[in-house]
């Protein structure tokens, strides 16, 4: 048990289950003084010899060319999911361990992966980006010449349309961490060339309404993308979090269509083929179309819906005693910036608005937080996000009701975590 010296009063509570005013801690610190803030009491009269650790008595390690996380953090890994391990191991997935991260940028080595045919070994010297089809000037670009173009830098999330699939289709909630349940979401700072600049250079003809983007991987993954989106805000990304795009994310270049389902952000991009109509590629025919409850389907469902998850606490964690915690999580929307995140600690009976950590960027993850005093009783935690268009996350039952029971795509339903009296955090449907 940890003991907090912070004792909230009735005035600090803003909703049921111990949710507190966003500024409660600041007020407490001002009243009580920093020395007694949140358990940081300085013991008086303690006169034992202080422990002097070994590392302060020796010279430290030398500088190194590429830094790595502390050895003690070696278990911070992506969760590997191989649905067809025996017969098709290259169809492989890894999920970002959100329960072990606490900012908004996903470290590049922890960005999620979903490869339909494995990660190719692309030679950047041979790689070319081609723009052809309904264009005035078919063009090819090598990496060196692309490096001379004016670049933009933007932060955007990527989310696989199949993120949160287990919660979509498992009859009983799977007891797994955020890495497995919601790990096919990541957020990076991307630097590259506005796609409009390259398409304008090739001169897309008026009848070129769609562009089929093709990757330089084994399956030559292909998606048809509306020209409006490419001209509006798409980026040819060359850098991810300041360094070259990682092989897992499309080295040496990938397409970024902010807010659109992950599959359309074609990795290892090698071809943009302007056409008058969508090609109905495999991924836009069956893989990423959704069966509805009435037996019909929806196709070309590009935008990712507004969504949030509480990452702290989250399933597989154990509470370390009652008292103060900061509830923290991530919210995002393919339609634009997050406007509001509400949190409930009483199963949805009452809600309190969380603080959004600034800056709130469009089509990027926003971290939210709210002080919370857990009394040690069973508690049902939920978060509900709203974006600037006014779209709000649906409940799981409302989301399920729209689709065929088999559908696991575009699940943006509210996630509920059950905290037991023993402090176990569990995945539940609510």
């Amino acid at each position: 048990m940890t003991h907090s010296s912070f004792n909230p009063t009735a005035l600090d509570y803003v909703a049921g289950g111990g949710l507190m005013n966003r500024r409660s801690l600041l007020r407490a610190a001002a009243i009580g003084g920093g020395a007694t803030f949140a358990g940081l009491t300085i013991p008086k009269g303690a006169r034992a010899d202080p422990l002097i650790p070994d590392w302060v008595k020796v010279a430290g390690a030398r500088a190194r060319g590429y830094g790595m996380p502390a050895e003690q953090e070696a278990d911070v890994q992506r969760a590997i999911i191989e649905p067809y391990k025996e017969v098709a191991p290259s169809f492989s997935i890894s999920g970002t361990p959100h329960q072990k991260l606490r900012g908004t940028i996903t470290p590049s080595g922890l960005h999620y992966e979903l490869h339909h045919g494995g990660r190719p070994d692309v030679d950047p010297d041979q790689h070319r980006l081609m723009i052809h089809g309904l264009v005035d000037r078919p063009l090819k670009f090598d990496l060196d010449s692309l490096g001379r173009y004016p670049m933009v830098t933007e932060t955007h999330f990527l989310e696989c349309a199949g993120n949160s699939l287990f919660n979509a289709i498992m009859p009983e909630p799977m007891q797994a961490g955020c890495d497995v349940l919601h790990g096919l979401l990541s957020n990076s700072e991307w630097t590259g060339i506005p796609m409009s600049v390259l398409l304008d250079e090739a001169g897309v003809k008026p009848e070129g309404r769609w562009v089929v983007a093709v990757g330089n991987d084994g399956p030559s993954l292909a998606r048809s993308i509306p020209i409006e989106k490419l001209m509006d805000d798409a980026i040819l990304a060359l850098y991810q979090n300041g360094e070259r795009v990682r092989p897992e994310q499309g080295y040496p270049m990938r397409l970024l269509v902010p807010g659109f389902e992950g599959n359309m952000n074609v990795k290892w991009l090698t071809s943009l083929w302007a056409t008058d109509a969508p090609a109905h590629t495999k991924d836009e025919s069956g893989e990423y179309t959704e069966l509805l409850a009435d037996g019909t389907s929806v196709e070309f469902t590009f935008g990712m819906g507004v969504k949030s998850i509480i990452t702290h606490p989250s399933s597989t964690m154990t509470m370390t005693g009652n008292g103060f915690y900061e509830i923290s999580g991530l919210a995002w929307s393919g339609a634009g910036p997050i406007r509001k995140v509400e949190i409930s600690a009483d199963g949805g009976a009452s809600w309190a608005e969380a603080e959004l950590v600034q800056p709130v960027l469009s089509r990027a993850t926003t971290r939210f937080r709210l002080p919370w005093h857990w009394e040690g009783a069973p508690t049902l935690l939920m978060s509900r996000a709203e974006d600037l268009t006014g779209a709000v996350q649906p409940t799981r039952s409302d989301w399920k009701a729209r689709y065929d029971p088999s559908n696991f795509l575009h699940n943006n339903a509210i996630q509920a975590w059950q905290i037991t009296a023993e402090g176990m955090v569990q995945n539940v449907y609510a």
């Binding site: 084994g218 807010g259 090609a279 196709e299």
Partner: protein
């Protein structure tokens, strides 16, 4: 002269100069011979389909050797997205759920089998498309699939799709 005054002048110069308003124009001319076939896609109306053809009978043999391990002995067992339906694993089997038959040919040719993509000939890819369509009851066993017949196949689920982009743009469904 301040930068603020220079920028509009420079923009006018660039725009007057040619097609590239914002870039240095470093793209190299791309000839048709340099473009691999997988950089485009067979369209639903048949544009882009190559010469060649095949029947389900021929496709059955290829399927046994190169596809059955992943997709199942008869196309319904899986484990990977069985193309024949109905099945107990995958609600969207390619041979009856996909809106256009041309996609079968193109995807098989570019991406299958997963450990040797682009190893199949055009004839083999047509034959496999024919086999999958036949196993789904969409075409007869003796019907050859080729650049003329494949786009003429009317897929049973074709009219059951709502185009969300056309309906509401990027607004999430």
């Amino acid at each position: 002269m301040s930068m603020r005054k220079l920028i509009p002048a420079a923009a006018v110069l660039f725009c007057a100069n040619g097609a590239w308003a914002e870039g240095p124009g470093l793209g190299q001319a791309l000839s048709a011979e340099e473009i691999p076939w997988y950089a485009s896609y067979a369209m639903p109306d048949g544009r882009g389909l190559p010469e060649g053809g095949g029947t389900a009978a021929v496709g059955a043999g290829i399927y046994d050797g190169k596809c059955a391990a992943c997709h199942g002995a008869t196309g319904v067992e899986g484990p990977v997205t069985p193309p024949v339906g109905p099945n107990d694993i995958w609600a969207k089997p390619a041979g009856r759920y996909w809106p256009y038959a041309t996609t079968l040919f193109d995807y098989i040719r570019r991406a299958m089998p997963i450990d040797a993509p682009k190893s199949l000939t055009n004839d083999e890819a047509y034959a496999l498309a024919a086999f999958i369509l036949y196993r789904n009851g969409v075409i007869g066993e003796a019907e050859a699939m080729n650049a003329q017949t494949l786009p003429a196949v009317v897929m049973p689920n074709r009219d059951n799709f709502t185009d969300v982009w056309a309906k509401q743009g990027a607004t999430p469904w």
